[in-house]
Amino acid sequence: MKNLIKLLVLAGTLLSVGALAANKTTTFNFIYPEYFYFTTNLASETFDFATNNVGSNHGQAATVATKNALDTCLDHFLANNSPSVTANDSAAGSSTISASNTSQCEFAATDTSQNNAFSVSWGSTGETAEGAVLVATNKSSWAVAAKISSDFSQVSSYVDLQLKTSSGGTFTTLSSTATNVGSVQTGSNPLNNAYYTDYMNIYVVPLQYKLVLTNPIAIPEISSSSPDTATVTYESASP
């Protein structure tokens, strides 16, 4: 079924749910009469421009964030966009390069850190999810949103952290305002074709992140020993 999100491996936190494998229509086996459980297996994503030594390509953004990729981005940007170079005489002793357009470079993570050992697939689309959020609830409504609760301290003006939650979908820039990650869908309802699994009361939204350099020339150098981090908060509830 198109876009049906199949829960392929349930381990780690889900290992205790022994009944799952036997009957996919069983509930999540919580002991509580009413429950809402929310988890993500993705602890962090690193966009490391200081190294070329990277593993597999996480996600499907334009290229993995390596030093070589960043150099290529800058070379391409300079060669194709003919930025005007002006001396900044209002700040003695300094000069600036002014990018006159909004060209940007996109990067996938060089590393992901997961703390729960479940994985999901986007089916046969060929796309790869980097992680997922998982909701288990026996209530009839739920919602998950994401927002940046602490932005990059050094480069927030030059980068956007973007999130995609559906195969073939579009990336959305995260900000301090909540961005919808997912909300309740029903059964095998073709009207809304994501967010349910073949396990009763369990819903999964695959995730994919990328970093967009909105002004590649101006971005300051980041120390490889002192990362600049942003914190994303997933808010969830059964309203």
């Binding site: 780690g12 936190t13 205790s16 919580f30 509580y32 009413e34 429950y35 809402f36 459980y37 929310f38 988890t39 993500t40 602890a43 962090s44 994503e45 690193t46 490391d48 200081a50 190294t51 964030a65 060089t110 590393d111 850190s113 703390n115 729960n116 998982l134 609830t137 009839s140 409504s141 919602a143 949103a145 609760s149 480069v155 980068v159 305002t177 909540a178 919808n180 909300s183 309740v184 869908q185 029903t186 059964g187 309802n189 073709p190 009207l191 809304n192 980041i222 020993s225 990362p227 600049d228 942003a230 914190t231 994303v232 908060t233 997933y234 808010e235 969830s236 509830a237 059964s238 309203p239």
Partner: protein, 246 residues
């Protein structure tokens, strides 16, 4: 990172001056300790169903000021749930009517990995929702507006779009179905709609993709929604709309 709560929400109907004490169990299925911070927050739901929190006391129908909860951090892990209590005390203030809402937010801490350069860390927050409705003041009411069919410019699919506006003073739960009627006047397909919550002065926007395998003779889409207010207070007929899909 992950945590659970039970129950996920309280739906209270109280008289002014009345006090209610509730209990929320916070649990984890992870073997490691997770430090949880507690806060009181306001929240709203956008027309598309997404939910977002707001600072305490910042929304129009906030009940946050009436709720007390212990905000000391605590630790949970698998097999070690934590139980916390909250108290909701309605003031005697004149003019209160209808529904108000708030939430207790339980938030995990982000965990540092082996980041270099730029890195994003993630944390989770689960809201235990608390609705409170002033007893005897309920005026549930809703309207279905603008049922149309639109074609998405990106994927070319057709969507039925319909808005439900809350015209009363209580929150409503919306359930219903979408029906497709054929040239013989018979229902060719029924689809149950997911439950949505419609807050006071709020709007729910349905954007429902028309099934790609609809029978060729299906000519009409009918949407029927049954609102339900606190303590089943909505007694009106279902909301109904229809639109040609030819």
């Amino acid at each position: 990172m992950g945590l659970g709560i039970s129950p996920p929400r309280y739906e209270l109907t109280l008289a002014q001056g009345q006090v209610f004490t509730g209990q929320i169990t916070v649990f984890s299925r992870l073997p490691d300790d997770q430090k949880i911070t507690v806060s009181r927050v306001d929240w709203l739901v956008k027309p598309d169903g997404s939910l977002f929190s707001l600072p305490a006391g910042s929304s129009q129908f906030s009940a946050t000021a009436w709720m007390t909860v212990n905000t000391d951090p605590f630790v949970v892990r698998e097999g070690r749930p934590f139980e916390t209590k909250f108290t909701m005390q309605l003031p005697e203030t004149a003019g209160l009517e209808g529904s108000y809402w708030t939430a207790v937010a339980f938030t995990t801490e982000p965990r540092a990995g082996t980041e270099k350069g730029l890195a994003a860390r993630f944390r989770t927050r689960v809201l235990a929702i608390v609705y409170v409705t002033i007893q005897g003041t309920e005026q549930p009411s809703a309207e279905l507006q603008g049922v149309t069919v639109v074609t998405d410019g990106k994927d070319g699919r057709r969507y039925l779009v319909a808005d439900v506006a809350n015209t009363g003073n209580v929150y409503l739960r919306l359930n219903g179905e979408l029906r497709f009627v054929n040239t013989a006047g018979k229902v060719a397909r029924r689809v149950k709609l997911p439950e949505r919550v419609l807050l006071r002065e709020g709007l729910v926007r349905y954007r429902l993709a028309l099934p790609e395998d609809l029978p060729e003779d299906a000519i009409l889409a009918q949407i029927e929604i049954q609102p339900q207010g606190p303590a089943k207070s909505y007694g009106g007929p279902p909301l109904y709309g229809e639109v040609s899909i030819q």
